[in-house]
């Protein structure tokens, strides 16, 4: 099948039952999306499918045919981090980092839609992303910082 991943058209040979997460990680060499629960509970595998935030573990690879996928690997411009990534680094929102790619993508999706979310809106939007290390405090601060960074405030 063909799909567009991070702006590049890719052709991939994947089994019918493989999830988009497996296709990304094992077939396309993009392990940034993580495999923590593979059940749609933890958000570590979050990607954008035609711009919509999905758990890539719950999407069949085949369902992404002829569609556009964006993963965490697409956000930075070379060495220049995206403001969401910069904010996660600066605010101490990263510990073991296994949840981080998913949270970065979810935060990006949130701030694209809602540039200045309230704290409650951030909590709602990120409630599908489990972090076991931070207790979320630094992540919530990072989202506010990212909002300022993305929209130049």
């Amino acid at each position: 099948m063909k799909l567009t991943v991070n702006g590049d058209e890719r052709e991939v040979d994947a089994a019918d039952h493989e999830s988009l997460l497996t296709v990304l990680r094992e077939r396309l060499g993009l392990p940034g999306s993580k495999n923590a629960c593979e059940q749609g509970e933890c958000g570590s595998c979050s990607v954008l499918l035609d711009g919509a935030l999905v758990c890539s573990c719950l999407v069949l690879g085949a369902a992404a045919a002829d569609r556009e996928v964006r993963t965490v690997e697409s956000l930075a411009d070379g060495d220049r981090l995206h403001p969401v990534q910069r904010a996660f680094v600066d605010m101490g929102a990263v510990q073991c980092g296994f949840c981080t790619p998913g949270l970065v993508v979810s935060t990006y999706a949130l701030l694209k839609e809602n540039p200045e979310p309230s704290e409650q809106e951030v909590r709602e939007a990120l409630s599908g992303n489990i972090c076991r290390c931070t207790g979320y405090g630094k992540i919530l601060e990072a989202v506010q910082r990212a909002s300022a960074g993305m929209y130049g405030r």
Binding site: A15, R25, L30, P31, G32, S33, K34, N35, A36, C37, E38, Q39, E41, C42, S44, T71, V72, E73, L75, A76, L81, Q85, F88, V89, D90, M91, G92, V94, Q95, C96, G97, F98, C99, T100, P101, V104, Q120, V122, R123, E124, L126, S127, G128, N129, I130, C131, R132, C133, T134, G135, Y136, G137, K138, I139, L140
Partner: protein, 760 residues
Amino acid sequence: MSVAPVRSRIRGVVGESVERPDAVAKVKGEFQYGSDLNREGMLFGATLRSPHPHARILGIDVSGARRMSGVRAVITSAELPTRELFGLMKLDQPVLATGRVRYAGEPVAIVAADTAEEARVAARAIAVRYDVLPPITDAVAALQPGAASLHSKGNVIEDVLVAHGDPDARADVVVEGEYELAMQDQAALGPEAGLAIPRRDGGVELHVATQWLHEDLRQIAPCLGLPESKVRLVLAGVGGAFGAREDVTLQIHACLLALATKRPVRMTYGREESFYGHVHRHPAKLWYAHGATKTGELVFVRATIVLDGGAYASSSPAVVANAACFGAGPYRVPSARIHAVGAYTNNPPTGAMRGFGAVQSCFAYEAQMDKLAAKLEMDPVVLREKNALRNGDRIVTSQPVEGSAPVAEIVRRCADLPLPEMEIPRDPIGLPGGAGNLTFGEGVRRGTGLAAGMKNVCYSHGFDDFSTARVRLMRDERGPLARVHTAAAEVGQGIVAVCVQIARTELGVQRVEIDPPDTTIGSAGSSSASRQTWMTGGAVLAACREVKAELLSRARRTGRSLDDLPALLEEPIDKTVTHRHPDTEPRDVNTQNQGHVAFLFAAHRAVVDVDVDTGLVKVVQVATAQDVGKAINPLAVVGQIEGGIAQGLGLAVMEEVQLAEGKVRNASFTDYLLPTTLDMPTVVVDLIEHPHPDAPYGAKGVGEPPTISSTPAIVAAIRAATGRELNRVPVRPDDIVFGAPYRSGWRIRPGDDPRGAVRA
């Protein structure tokens, strides 16, 4: 000659909040975790596990599996190169079940195949005939005379008595209670994963996400029938640990498959298998009696503690010792008798999890302190202040607390932290049940509770605790550069940043790089017991000071200024130092000894809203005061504290590995509930910095105290809101709505040997 002017230009030194050296790779998705590893020609491993908690193995037929497409190796107990057992503290666990399975989930066979799917399918095709035996799933029952023996030496893994003072002490006021903690999962997001690569010399190289490379090596090599020199371990990226990676899981299996197939083999557990694959926090049953004078001075504490060690010992001996040593908490207790026993059962094995034994007893003794305060009609904060350990006071093992023991200060400062707005919110989103829209607040009650706790830092009881660091100071085209090599496992806690900060501070060099941890350098010990800052931080500090001494000597010899680093570093300086903390004493009969090197203290205050109609809890705020000695990287310290509190909150109100006849019923993140952004409240942190004289820069360690007293503080707040007894965690909605307290079904006089328990 002074180094001060050099140092002043350096950014990111000790005491400053710094960016983690691995943060950029992590936010970009480029950091390589164990499950991301790849090699040309790599095979995939899979494990067949026992469905029964207790059974004899009558036969294993692998012929079907061997014939399946893509299968390269199938290994059962019969094909193992040795009969060696493994285990962290007792060698009691077979690499693959041999004749008998002792828990549901025990590995029976392993397979390597061309794809992960083929390996899994082949593992399922192995036919095992079992003679199913009745499982022992109650740890107290396992200890009784006549219980079937699960191991050759019986079912007692460890038996620790802490006894001092007057065994017959009488008190004006006595409170008793029994308590239970369920099994908690570490739930590190990164699954167990490793890649084993066979070497030309017949050895193997294992890249693995672990907490302690050298201890893994010590256990792996004999089971492979190889000398340690033929097994090299390299740390793969670790996606959280919290104790679950102290034990060997897939390490030996991956190496066996690589050696059998002469191909690289990757093994990665899925989430369900992760629940079976690693040890959990010990479930505990505790019986307590506290006695005090009319004015609230503690007279005695008596306790019996039974920890369920599951099928294999893992680190149970040390967990049992901790539960006993800290069984009275951070208080002065003139007479104590605390009897803690760890038992083998047919439940999944338990071992290390953040807080390591101190969590279990803290839940009980803090509930007891509140009961005592209620009976004395005394403010529970005042009761704790009154009995708080001070510098020089002895804990129940007779060891004086030296260095820093600001317990009363911690309790008071925690109690005085600002409270949240006292009005219960009107918007259902902020109420218990949240978006479930279950209440408009009519049944919602608010409560506040406080708890304090203590634990050791570093290893205890005579264990030779050390860490080795190599520091090289050199120059390249960009100027001076320090490289730090240790075997310390970065598991998320931030030891890499600490090492960089120490090197910058000591050497006055901005550029510091961390070499990948592996077993080519001496052990760093595990990333556990809140010890890496003290131990590996201490080793880096010592190595840096040797490097600096050499630098000064070169400067003196050549008459150059220390600012002229490039000239002084024509030849690199290379120093390796092994750092030890002061000796501790082994345990004796009554555990009256200097068993620990130092102590950590914290207090937590929780504010909760409870819907008494649905039994749902919303934690509104947790405030904490913690003595960290010295915050090396304050941002990371707060991150550790907030994260530890989240795990304490989980144990208080939602996290439980549910067992039915020894089988895990909820081995997934759908059914094992973890705190999310909607569950975690605002955390208010008061960092207290009383430097410990023996620790590097006075930094005592941070990781565990947040997980110790946060749970009892939250439960105390729920009790205050509801009036329920709530003597078991996690607190379930039924416990709140119907209020039936937990009963163990056993009668034990607190302090007595649990082997004399009588069915109630």
